[in-house]
Amino acid sequence: MAVITLDVDGTAHRLDVEPEMPLLYALRDELGLNNPRFGCGLAQCGSCTVLMDGQPIRACVVPVAAVTGKVQTLSGLGTAEEPHPVQQAFIDEQALFCGYCMNGWILYAAALLESDPNPSDEAIRQAFTGLKCRCGSHSAILRAVKRAAATLSDREG
């Protein structure tokens, strides 16, 4: 066991856990956070995605001791009163079915639009390589990301 400090959604936490424990288990079981979810434990699907210093990582394979930056979860991305434009676009497009995989899609989309505010269709598709959705919301997700990009460019324009 080792004492680990974690900054999650702007709050600092001290944990006494095995250093090799994946971040996902630390977030869920030690901190009681729900939204990153176990999908594969192999970094193959994205259900456990969180942002570390703004970049998506797969919490299911990153040992908690290796987390050096600030962690942001889906629930820390926006608020019900002020959703992130990507979150609002997913609501507007009704772009999901069971929603279990949404951490990955929404956080990768937010990170993509941060670096490329007006991505091409191809760029969006490539950015999502390695994310899985089983219910078939892919086309709706593409529409949602394009809508979010348009919202962001309207704001800036």
């Binding site: 192999l42 979150q87 069971c98 219910c135």
Partner: protein
């Protein structure tokens, strides 16, 4: 009459004024758990209006729905239907589902009947409630019932609309205590009628509108609760320990091997083996580290390369030309042989479809809290009523002592691993006398979930000189679809139950393609073969979205295309020759019209040798009542073997449209899920075990290959009831893509999935056959 069910005949006795007593007695929904061998949901009377509806003091309505929504917006449609009958704004209707103490068993999610059947008792109850509210309102206002009307949640005097009484004033917090006429059935068949007739669809204002789902904001904000988020005081974490060779069972277990993991314990009952620990990570480690000596068994499976020949060779266990749950019907082979003997040309082809996994986004999770004489189950199962009953059975408890509470799971498309996880949690909770949460590994969601069965389809047709079909035969041979029946009340149909000695109760059944082609001789039948491993097999079969639909229609609709080519006909025109006028032909025409279909015989003018080529393919089906036609535009890269279905046009007639937004989404989800199954999905195995254990060894669709456009034509039929849309379009996708691949390349792909390797292999084989 509109679209309401007629399963129950109305009895005049229901019209008696005595039914209007407003009772303050505790209704069925609040009845305490009793030591009763009837399941909890049977404490709710399907013949009581209060079972389906409650109106609180503010006039807000709660509808109690005994089916489920698995992310297709069924619950919002139910809210629309209830709001419609009560003339209420939609935002004043809530829907409760999935709690066996609060909802009667309407069968859970099953066969796309959520609205088709599930809405009937709720609509009838709401119509009856409206009638009662009108009478109560007239009484309160001191006028005759004919002088009042309902609007915006209140009864008002027509002549003086300011005089009004809100629903909350009239009945808020009380109970209708009005009997409905119940047809005596539970599950999918449950229906109940009131004395009041529901509205005519021409009056609809809420039904037919595109309302969004209500749970999406919480889901995208990351605050929605899923089954994996359920935490109960004193809860432990459990993991099932699976054998290295399918069919092997634990002989001895070295408990000391997990002695270093604090609080970790072994659950070993019969042939069932699991571990529990206080922390989830510890349970994960304990399952990995536990040393087990396993029994020696013969490897149960054939070489995977031999799968389809195994099916061809295997003795037939059951054969029928009828439905799988009905009596056997002998196929008229003589008629087929006679017709084919008369034909100028006989075509034949064989199609092969693999085992497929549910592969839900997360491996199933369940929590069970066993308390000696009662238990509570939290489950993501799409049939929580039956799952709770199953848990009662495996725990040896009276069914009335187990409450099942559904919490959304990681996707559900039939009988997936959720039905096993519920039993696992129950067995482990009993073993440690603590609440236990079970969630599997990815391998358990992919390798160990019940599978869609693999099959071979044998098609034959005779054409006359003019290209008309004179005889047709379609035979499906494969593993039964019913190793695991989808009703979860019988522990035999679970992994834990099988290992604890519950007897094998598998059912041998398959089915035939669904269409309305009127061939002069038209014989379809199916043949089941024995399972490869009878007990606790990772290749156990069960329902997966549109059970047997993709298999059967891959064969039947590809073969239609082959017949059209042989007849020198356009494939839309060729299908229309054999379809009766009406809904089937209308839907096919609607798809062709939206697509802008110009008639042509499928296939390239000359076989292309390299580069990217394009083609179009059509398929149609009738799945009982709903009718679907789809046209796919496909790109094939002959150098890489990549098949990309860029665009689909879908026409769908599912009766009256209740919510066009979520109907479209549901169809879109079906198409994309089916694209994944068509292009990528194949459960791999060795003689010892299933080797599809993750998303590398069981690849599914990635975003780069997702369609660009899915253009959906909803053929609205206000004169018809709403039919299920959760599955029918799935089955049209494999043949539409295969037919488009042929149109583009001239290659007939008769084995799914159409992976890059398979396309390249087909191309090489075709080149080998070309002279020079």
């Amino acid at each position: 009459m509109g679209w309401y069910g007629t399963a129950v005949k109305r009895r005049d006795v229901l019209k008696g004024a005595g039914s209007l007593v407003v009772s303050l007695a505790v209704p069925g929904a609040r009845r305490a758990m009793a030591a009763d061998d009837r399941p909890l949901w049977r404490a709710l009377s399907p013949a009581q209006l209060d079972t389906y509806l409650k109106i609180d003091e503010t006039g807000r309505v709660t509808a109690f729905f005994g089916k489920m929504d698995m992310g297709q917006g069924v619950d919002i449609s139910i809210a629309q239907i209830v709001a419609e009958e009560l003339d209420l704004p939609l935002d004043r209707v809530d829907v409760v589902m999935g709690d066996t103490a609060l909802t009667v068993n309407q069968g859970g999610a099953s066969g796309s009947t959520g609205i088709e059947r599930g809405a009937n008792p709720l609509r009838n109850a709401a119509a009856e409630a409206r009638r009662v509210l009108l009478e109560l309102g007239a009484e309160m206002l001191g006028v005759d019932a004919g002088e009042v009307a309902v609007a915006e949640g209140a009864v008002y005097l027509r002549a003086d609309p300011v005089r009004r009484a809100g629903f909350g004033e009239l009945i808020g917090g009380g109970h209708f205590d009005v009997r409905l006429e119940w047809n005596g059935s539970y599950g999918n068949a449950l229906d109940a009628l009131g004395s009041a007739a529901p509205k005519d669809p021409s009056e609809y204002r809420v039904v037919g509108q595109p309302f969004p789902r209500r749970d999406l904001p919480e889901i995208v904000m990351g605050t929605h609760e899923y089954i994996v988020d359920v935490r109960v005081p004193d809860m432990m974490h459990g993991r099932v320990v699976r054998p290295p060779v399918a069919g092997s069972v634990p002989v001895s277990v070295n408990i000391d091997s997990i002695g270093a993991i604090a609080g970790a314990r072994v659950v070993h009952e019969g042939d069932y083996l699991g571990v529990v620990a206080g922390r989830e990570w510890d349970a994960v480690r304990a399952a990995q580290q536990l040393e087990v000596s396993w029994s020696e068994v013969e490897p149960p499976f054939p070489d995977m390369d031999d799968l389809y020949d195994h099916i061809r060779r295997a003795p037939v266990v059951r054969e029928s030309a009828g439905g799988g749950r009905g009596a056997d019907v002998a196929p008229d082979r003589d008629a087929v042989e006679a017709a084919l003997a008369r034909a100028d040309r006989v075509l034949q082809a064989e199609y092969e479809f693999p085992f497929q996994s549910h592969g839900s986004m997360g491996p199933a999770c369940a929590v069970c809290d066993y308390r000696g004489d009662s238990a509570t189950l939290w489950t993501g199962s799409q049939k929580p009523h039956y799952a709770a009953e199953g848990v009662a059975n495996i725990l040896g408890l009276p069914a009335g002592n187990v409450r099942g509470i559904w919490v959304p799971g990681p996707g559900s498309y039939g009988r997936n691993d959720a039905g096993d996880a519920a039993m696992d949690a129950a067995v482990m909770s009993r073993a440690v006398s603590r609440p236990v949460r079970v969630q599997g590994t990815r391998a358990e969601g992919t390798a160990w979930d019940p599978k869609a069965p693999a099959s071979v389809h044998f098609a034959r047709a005779g054409l006359d000189a003019a290209g008309n079909v004179v005889g047709y035969e379609m035979r499906m041979k494969g593993f039964s679809a019913g190793d695991v029946e989808s009703n979860e009340s019988n522990p035999s149909y679970s992994y834990a139950g099988a290992l604890l000695g519950w007897p094998n109760t598998s059912v041998h059944r398959l089915s035939n393609p669904g269409d309305r082609y009127g061939f002069p001789v038209n014989v379809r039948y199916w043949q089941t073969i024995a399972p490869l491993l009878e007990r606790a097999s990772p290749l156990r079969t069960a329902h997966l979205r549109d059970p047997l639909g993709p298999q059967n229609h891959f064969a039947s609709e590809c073969f239609m295309d082959e017949m059209a080519v042989a007849a020198g006909a356009d494939p839309v025109e060729f299908r229309l020759r054999y379809l009766p006028d009406g809904r089937d032909a209308d839907v096919l025409r609607a798809a062709a019209e939206r697509y802008g279909w110009e008639p042509a015989v499928p296939g390239p003018e000359a076989p292309p040798s390299d580069g990217v080529v394009t083609g179009r393919g059509v398929a149609y089906t009738r799945r009982g009542l709903p009718v679907v036609a789809v046209i796919a535009d496909v790109e094939v890269d002959l150098d890489t073997g990549r098949v990309w279905p860029r665009r689909f046009v879908v026409a769908s007639d599912q009766g009256i449209v209740v919510n066009p937004l979520w109907l479209r989404r549901t169809i879109e989800g079906n198409i994309i899920h089916a694209v994944s199954r068509t292009l990528h999905e194949e459960v791999r195995f060795t003689p010892e075990r299933v080797t599809s254990v993750d998303w590398i060894s069981y690849p599914i669709l990635e975003m780069v290959d997702a369609p660009e456009e899915i253009d959906i034509v909803l053929v609205n039929r206000p004169e018809l009831p709403p039919y299920g849309a959760g599955e029918p379009s799935t089955r049209t996708v494999p043949p539409a893509i295969a037919n488009a691949v042929f149109d583009a390349t001239g290659l007939r792909i008769r084995r799914a999935p159409f992976s890059r390797e398979r396309i390249l292999a087909a191309r090489r084989a075709s080149a080998d056959r070309q002279p020079g």
